[in-house]
């Protein structure tokens, strides 16, 4: 086996003084070299605090202060040892000072690492961000992954993910409200036949939609929690835990705990953002988060290209200008807005394949059948859909609501009963004989719900499953790093205690 050779690997050599000096020079030059690179603007103030600066950076100063306190403490101890003439104390001081020298080198390495993370970008390491599938989309959001430092990439990722999740959440609400509205349409048929809810067959799908809410809410909460966790790490890791760890590491009684704090701080401030940066790569290479579809769902309407194109292609003959994401996008005004009963204005109900003439939508067979993206999300699909939906809702309005309002006029209500009883039979016969009438109405909500479901699945993976796995990696990293520096911190055991 390959690893069995490891058994013969000796322990790391004890460096000589010359080696110490060489390592120190190397570490300091590394720290200085990266510190002189082009500055950048981190996304948030919190993250800015993590970045070291050659002439500033609170945690660097405090850490150096901690080392200085350690040296002073050892100097005092040495003096006491000399006064009391205790050679053991002098020996302890010598080994302690060697340890502090090692700590100083480690500090320089961490500063170098911080500088690399704060200045290196995808472009620096030779990855062309323009090759990402979603480059244009990200660019429209003002995000160019190629120019964001590795440290801030995680923060950008979480913001982007939350933005997508929120949009998905809104889309789901709108779609569910719409589905609820159409499934609740009742056609009353008088006292003889009772009433039917022709689209209540969509209810199982609607129930599934409600279930999606649970997973979506969980994923959104997870993303939100990660955002706050990142802020917490940025505020406490390097600014607080690291200098405290250095100070405690420099003092003999608290050496072990200090090392654990240092390991924890490095994991929190650098390793965790690196994990998130990796997630960003997954997001932009594998998931392809173009949100045009989400916007389309959100506005309950398709996209169109500019005012004139919108006027030409939108069934409603109207469009919405969306500037929420920095750029300008156009969406067709929806044919039927949630909560708005269909009006008599033909522009609100006609399909692209039909035109409003003489008070009705007349089919125009010369126009090829439409696809989504041209006819409106709600009112797109098979040609008869608009008629079918209008019929269902119209029948409901006229024969259910109308009959109740006019209940005091017996003639009208009795006539309404008779007419609706006849119509419902006709409608049922129509549904049986030519089910195609109903298919367009059904196909659309099923397609939209399926698309939302797939989006939701992607989001759940990114928002919940991936963080769960990465939490395990993070916990193991903290345990290994703190263990190699001093006392291992087992977060799982700590959580059990809590």
């Amino acid at each position: 086996m390959i690893q069995h050779r490891n058994e013969q690997v000796p322990h790391p050599p004890q460096p000589t003084r010359f080696a110490w000096a060489l390592l120190s020079i190397l570490a300091i030059s590394l720290a200085l070299a990266h510190g002189q690179q082009q500055p950048f603007t981190p996304i948030s103030q919190e993250q800015q605090g993590v970045c070291p600066s050659v002439f500033g950076g609170d945690w660097v100063v405090f850490s150096l202060g901690g080392i200085a306190i350690g040296i002073i403490a050892y100097a005092l101890l040495y003096m006491i040892g000399s006064i009391l003439n205790r050679p053991q104390v002098k020996g302890l001081v010598r080994s302690g000072l060697a340890d502090i020298a090692g700590l100083f080198i480690f500090l320089m390495v961490v500063i170098a690492l911080g500088n690399v993370m704060c200045s290196a970008t995808f472009s620096t390491i030779g990855v062309d961000s323009k090759t990402f599938a979603s480059y244009n989309f990200l660019a429209s959001k003002g995000i160019d992954p190629g120019n964001i430092p590795l440290l801030s990439l995680g923060e950008a990722y979480l913001n982007l993910l939350y933005y997508l999740g929120e949009k998905l959440y809104k889309s789901l609400i709108i779609q569910l409200v719409y589905a609820s509205a159409i499934t609740s349409v009742k056609v009353s048929a008088g006292s003889m036949v009772g009433e039917i809810q022709p689209l209540s067959g969509l209810e199982p799908l609607l129930n599934m939609g409600n279930m999606f809410f649970a997973s979506l809410a969980l994923a959104l909460m997870s993303v939100s929690a990660q955002m706050y966790l990142l802020k917490f790490f940025a505020l406490t890791g390097m600014p607080l835990f690291f200098p405290l760890g250095v100070l405690m590491r420099a003092l003999p009684p608290t050496r072990s705990f200090g090392a654990a704090l240092i390991g924890l701080a490095v994991a929190m401030s650098f390793f965790y953002p690196l994990i998130l940066a990796y997630n960003f790569i997954i997001l932009v290479t594998a998931i392809n988060p173009d949100d045009a579809m989400l916007n389309s769902l959100l506005y309950n309407s398709p996209m169109c290209n500019g005012p004139q194109d919108c006027l030409d292609t939108c069934n409603s003959g109207a469009y919405i200008t969306d500037t929420s994401d920095g750029g300008t996008r156009y969406f067709c005004a929806p044919c039927i807005l949630v909560g708005t009963p269909p009006g008599n204005d033909g522009s609100l109900c006609c399909q692209k394949t039909s035109k409003f003439k003489n008070g009705v939508c007349e089919m125009d067979d010369s126009i090829p059948p439409e696809k989504l993206g041209s006819g409106g999300i709600i009112a797109k699909g098979a040609k008869p859909e608009g008629y079918g939906l209008t019929y269902f809702i119209g029948a409901s309005v006229i024969f259910t609501v109308g009959a109740k309002i006019l209940d005091n006029i017996p003639i009208v209500s009795k006539l309404a009963n008779a007419v609706s009883a006849t119509l419902i039979v006709l409608m049922q016969i129509g549904l049986v004989v030519a089910y195609k009438l109903g298919l367009g109405i059904i196909m659309n909500p099923v397609a939209v719900m399926a698309i939302i479901l797939v989006f939701n699945s992607n989001f759940f993976f990114l928002g919940f499953i991936l963080p769960m796995i990465e939490f395990v990696i993070m916990v193991e990293f903290v345990r290994t790093l703190t263990g190699s520096l001093g006392e291992p911190i087992d977060i799982i055991q700590l959580l059990k205690v809590i």
């Binding site: 690893q3 689209l199 989504l372 699909g381 698309i451 699945s457």
Partner: protein
């Protein structure tokens, strides 16, 4: 995560590596002498070039590791330190091992791909790489789940329109209520469950698509170089081994698993002659996973859904393919090799109606007739209430008219009763004749979304674990991982 110890590392028998290498050499030789077409050679060259391109950073990492070993060697000479010398030799050795692993990856991948094509796909000339085959299969699963979801919803809407209603039958001035929903409840429950299963299937399948994308796009460019760098330092050797095992193991095995899935599903749906076939109990699966359909979607580029791949549910205008008028939907399915029949796959009413026996069609006719008479009686009663009694009497003065007018109450009662009974019978017959369809959802969930993904995940994890343990020497404790999660 990794529990490396001297005890653990000695688990591997010393001859295992030699055996592994010997097997590799035999496979490589077999691969070289195996007759292949120029298209196959072109495909293999493309796959190898793709892997090489993705592994660029890993080669850089190897170079860094070798450089590090050289620096340590120089340091050991300067300081005359034997331990540093041993350290540098070990680093160099691990760098060379990493280089061998990375360099042999394209060949191993191509060899395993070819074996999978021969074993599981009957040597068919597939389009693109094995990852494309896997993507096509998963994309096809989505098409299947979506179509099934659509059809079952159509069925449910049909139930809601025809059966989900309440009758109030007039008997001597009193209304007797018959709630027909009771007859349709079993079917509605089955359909509700079917929708849940299909939605869950869509969810699970999308997960798999994402996992495949993840393995394809981000393991080699990221995990591989990171693993190589970590392997260069003895304290992080085990962590590096685990990353390397995940990157190489998953990249090799993931597409192979899906080739096996295709074989498994076609064997279930369309077994060779002489073997028991369960196709008739599989509902729509028997249409979607026939071997000729799978051949079409894997080898020809006529199927629009597979051409779109995983992006068909993704944000792009092309996803419109799912919401075109259903005639186009049927045409697209036809292009994918599905036998949609004369009436089209989505026209389930016509399909179910055509499969109904004569007695069921008679019931349907009686039901509609009775409903029409009921409606006419309701209308007549309304007209009567609006007229003066004398006008009504005048209308009923004729011989036949008088009989009808007298019997209006009875006719209303009889027609409503017949209508309710026939609708109930219709509900039962609908349930009977859509049984296969409804049961098909449950079976397809069990096969495509429970057994197969579970099997895939198990194979993937076990392969990575064993690759890490027996090839690289670092055992991964699955129990420890599970405890952490």
């Amino acid at each position: 995560m990794m529990q490396a110890s001297k005890e653990n590392t000695s688990i591997c028998p010393s001859g295992m590596k030699q055996l592994f290498l010997a097997v590799l050499v035999v496979i490589a030789f077999a691969n070289l002498v195996y007759p292949v077409s120029s298209e196959d050679l072109q495909r293999r060259a493309g796959e190898m070039a793709d892997i090489l391109q993705k592994s660029t950073l890993a080669y850089v990492a190897v170079a860094i590791a070798i450089l590090l070993a050289a620096l340590m060697y120089m340091g050991s000479s300067i300081f005359n330190d034997a331990r540093l010398l041993a350290y540098s030799k070990e680093t160099l050795y691990q760098a060379i091992v990493s280089l061998v692993l990375i360099a042999s990856l394209p060949a191993i991948y191509v060899i395993i791909s070819q074996i999978c094509i021969e074993l599981f796909l009957d040597g068919m000339p597939v389009n693109g790489s094995m990852f494309d085959v896997a993507s096509a299969y998963l994309a096809w699963n989505n098409v299947y789940f979506f179509t099934h979801l659509l059809i079952i919803t159509v069925l449910n809407v049909g139930i809601a329109s025809l059966i989900n209603q309440q009758y109030s039958i007039p008997i001597m001035g009193v209304f007797a209520t018959v709630n027909l929903v009771s007859f349709a409840k079993p079917l509605m429950f089955a359909v509700g469950t079917g929708v849940t299963l299909l939605s869950t299937s869509l969810f699970i399948n999308s997960f798999q698509i994402m996992l495949l994308d993840l393995i394809k796009n981000s393991l080699l460019p990221i995990f591989l170089p990171l693993g190589v760098v970590l392997r260069a330092f003895p304290p992080t050797l085990n962590a590096g081994n685990v990353l390397l095992a995940i990157a190489i193991g998953a990249y090799i095995i993931a597409p192979a698993i899906y080739a096996f899935n295709i074989y498994l599903v076609t064997e279930i749906v369309d077994p060779p002659a002489g073997k028991t076939s369960y196709a008739e109990h599989l509902g729509l699966m028997s249409l979607f996973y026939r071997s000729n359909v799978m051949r079409t979607i894997l080898t020809e580029s006529s199927c629009p859904y597979v051409k779109m791949g995983a992006s068909m549910f993704r944000p792009s205008s092309d996803y419109a393919v799912f919401v075109t008028p259903h005639e186009s939907f049927d045409d697209n399915l036809k292009d994918c090799g599905i036998d949609v029949g004369e009436k089209g796959l989505l026209d389930m009413t016509a399909d179910i109606a055509s499969r109904m026996p004569t007695w069921a069609k008679v019931i349907l006719g009686v039901d509609l007739g009775a409903r029409s008479i009921s409606a006419v009686v309701t209308g007549a009663n309304s007209v009567k209430s609006l007229m003066k009694q004398t006008t009504w009497d005048k209308l009923c003065s004729g011989k036949i008219a008088a009989k009808i007018c007298k019997s209006l109450g009875i006719i209303g009662f009889v027609s409503a009763t017949i209508s309710s009974i026939s609708t109930a019978a219709l509900a039962v017959s609908l349930f009977y004749y859509s049984f296969d369809l409804v049961v098909g959802t449950a079976i397809s969930f069990v096969i495509l979304s429970a057994i197969i993904p579970f099997l895939n995940f198990t194979i993937l994890v076990i392969f990575i674990r064993d690759f890490s343990q027996y090839i690289l020497g670092t055992p991964i404790s699955l129990g420890h991982l599970v405890r952490l999660i």
